[in-house]
């Protein structure tokens, strides 16, 4: 892994080596809020959640809507604060950060959003969008940033980069936009990427490509990945470890393959059954060659 990291040119020099990449540590994170309305009920969205994303790990956080995964993602991103508990990333106490500190934090932790249509400003070119973090975090000049934008576009598979750099979001397809969003997240060379349902709004035919890109980046750059989703299939493909969230609590956790093959919690089983899976039907039918059409 360390060889891989060395191979990727870090624009800011040897700022970090494998050893000092911190882990993201959540400890007893709880979020409660009052519902608006007559009775002002106290709702617990996230209830005493603790876990660690180790350097280079890929952790999946799965749950249906209302499981608290979005609230958790917001707290990890620093845009909401836990009511109780701590979120630490190395020296940074994320649950206490303000504007300045958050900016330092975002240098190391980036986010990929669900909606590639909403995550890009319709008025900015791809180049502007990706160049901004390079300039803000890495202190690059416009010229240096431009070179890096092209490099990043190549990395995420948008070639020829010069052509894509000048495009506006509405001229791109959904899959291409999501690649731009990923390129932007990579721009400041973060240690951890929090991906919130990055493929759920894409056509199935494009999912594997984006997932493969995330896996590749993780392998090549030693990134850690926190992958938030309701889709167990995609979680299976990109994560090593999985946490199943229900009603704001972690109900099951462990290595992804083990949890999915031998689920213990009822909720995990229901989520598994919810995966639209033609092959479950096919299992009853005579065997078919399912790998024939898959691209390498």
């Amino acid at each position: 892994m360390s060889a891989d990291r060395a191979a990727t040119a870090r624009p800011d020099g040897a700022r970090r080596t494998g050893a000092d990449v911190p882990a993201l540590v959540l400890n007893g994170v709880t979020k409660t809020y009052r519902v608006r309305g007559r009775n002002r009920k106290l709702v617990t969205a996230v209830d005493d959640v603790s876990f660690t994303v180790a350097p280079g790990a890929a952790v999946g956080l799965v749950g249906a809507s209302g499981s608290g995964k979005t609230t958790l993602a917001r707290m990890i991103a620093g845009s909401q604060r836990p009511s109780y508990g701590t979120i630490d990333f190395g020296q940074l106490a994320v649950h206490r950060l303000h504007t300045r500190g958050l900016r330092r934090y975002h240098h190391r932790v980036q986010m990929v959003f669900q909606d590639p249509y909403g995550a890009l400003n319709p008025l900015h070119t791809v180049e502007y969008t990706i160049a901004r973090p390079c300039q803000n975090f890495l202190g690059m000049s416009a010229r240096q940033a431009q070179a890096r934008v092209h490099e990043l576009l190549e990395t995420v598979g948008l070639t020829p980069p010069a052509q894509f750099a000048a495009k506006l979001p509405h001229q791109l397809s959904g899959g291409q936009r999501q690649r731009v969003v990923i390129a932007r997240a990579l721009a400041c060379d973060p240690d951890l990427i929090v991906a919130d349902e990055p493929v759920s709004m894409l056509d199935v035919s494009l999912r594997a490509g984006v997932l493969r890109l995330l896996a590749k980046l993780r392998a090549e750059r030693g990134l850690s990945l926190l992958y938030i989703t309701h889709d167990l299939l995609s979680a299976r493909v990109v994560t090593d470890e999985i946490l199943v969230l229900n009603g704001g609590r972690i109900v099951e956790q462990g290595p992804t393959k083990r949890v999915l093959q031998h689920p213990k919690d009822d909720y995990t089983i229901r989520l598994l059954d919810a995966v639209a899976n033609p092959y479950a039907i096919a299992a009853a039918a005579p065997s078919i060659d399912t790998t024939a059409a898959s691209t390498p």
Binding site: T99, A119, P122, L123, R132
Partner: protein, 313 residues
């Protein structure tokens, strides 16, 4: 830069390379170029084009009024109460002034008040709307309260009171009064738009990209409100043109300035309709209406301003 020209942005026909360089460069765009692009966008809409032509004509008239006006607008050297004739195309006032010349010079005041009151009102609306929309909580509540208060106060009576009690009566008094009474609608719309945009993912993404507050507001949020800002400007300008004429007509302006409003004021004072001088009422009335309509027409084209998809067509 050669690679940039290979793929021109969709907004423009090929050949506008200056624009491409600007949108590409990370420097703040030159306002003139921004206005140029906005103008081209508006021009592409049929209705807005008509509006722009009319406004353009008025502006031209206002600028070259001294060159084309046959007489001085204040000279009282003609036969009073005369109907349109060869010397006085629109007739004369009861004081013996040439109405046609007054009309030409009057365009200056109406445009000046309309555009500057529009600008001022829009500036206040954008500032208050942006701050309120971007800072939910107490700041928003206070600003929204003020905005709502300003909205429910009837504008015309307030204008009249303000205009009547302010010490020096000049065109600028009217600009100030009109701006003061017409910013609220715009501010309210801006606030809701800004607060919607604030929660959009691209704004959150910009914060993740390390953008500071000013940049988030002015480069991410504000450009997406361009059409609102423009529409608010043209609405305020329309209101200002009308309000200026109303105040002048009521005698609350400076009766010594030459404007369409004062022509109407004197026409009323001197019973122009009774003396059969319908031109004195008709000409300034039509001019005011035309200017107001042209601003409204331009408003039809502003939707395309912050929607690159619409601009393409």
């Amino acid at each position: 830069m050669s690679m940039l020209t290979a793929v021109p942005p969709p907004t423009e026909a090929p050949g506008t390379r200056a624009e491409i360089t600007i949108s590409h460069g990370r420097s703040v765009p030159v306002p003139l170029l921004f206005l140029g692009r906005a103008f081209r966008t508006l021009w592409s809409n049929g209705k807005a084009r008509i509006g722009l032509c009319i406004v353009g004509l008025f502006i031209l008239v206002a600028i070259i009024a001294p060159l084309i006006a046959p007489h001085s607008p204040t000279a009282t050297t003609f036969t009073p109460y005369s109907s349109p004739n060869g010397t006085n195309l629109f007739g004369t006032t009861g004081n013996g002034q040439d109405v046609f010349s007054q009309m030409l010079y009057g365009a200056r005041v109406s445009l000046l008040v309309g555009l500057s009151a529009g600008l001022l009102a829009t500036f206040v609306a954008v500032t208050i709307g942006l701050i309120a929309g971007y800072r939910p909580g107490p700041v928003d509540e206070v600003l929204s309260f003020i905005t709502n208060l300003a909205l429910v106060i009837p504008a015309i009576p307030l204008m009249i009171i303000l205009a009547a009690y302010l010490p020096n009566r000049s065109v600028w008094t009217i600009v100030f009064v009109v701006a003061f009474t017409s910013w609220a609608t715009g501010a309210r719309v801006m606030r809701s738009q800004a607060s919607t945009l604030r929660s959009r993912e691209f704004v959150t993404s910009a914060v993740f990209s390390g953008e500071r507050l000013g940049r988030v507001v002015f480069r991410e949020i504000l450009p997406n409100m361009t059409s609102l800002v423009a529409s608010s400007f043209f609405s305020a300008a329309t209101a200002a043109v009308m309000a200026e004429a109303s105040l002048e007509f009521l005698g609350l302006g400076n009766p010594n300035t030459v404007s369409w409003g004062t022509i109407l004021y004197y026409a009323q004072q001197q019973n122009a309709l009774l003396t059969g001088q319908w031109v004195l009422v008709f000409a300034p009335g039509l001019a005011i209406a035309m200017l107001a309509v042209s601003f409204t027409l331009i408003n039809f084209g502003v939707d395309a301003l912050s929607n690159p998809r619409l601009r393409e067509k």
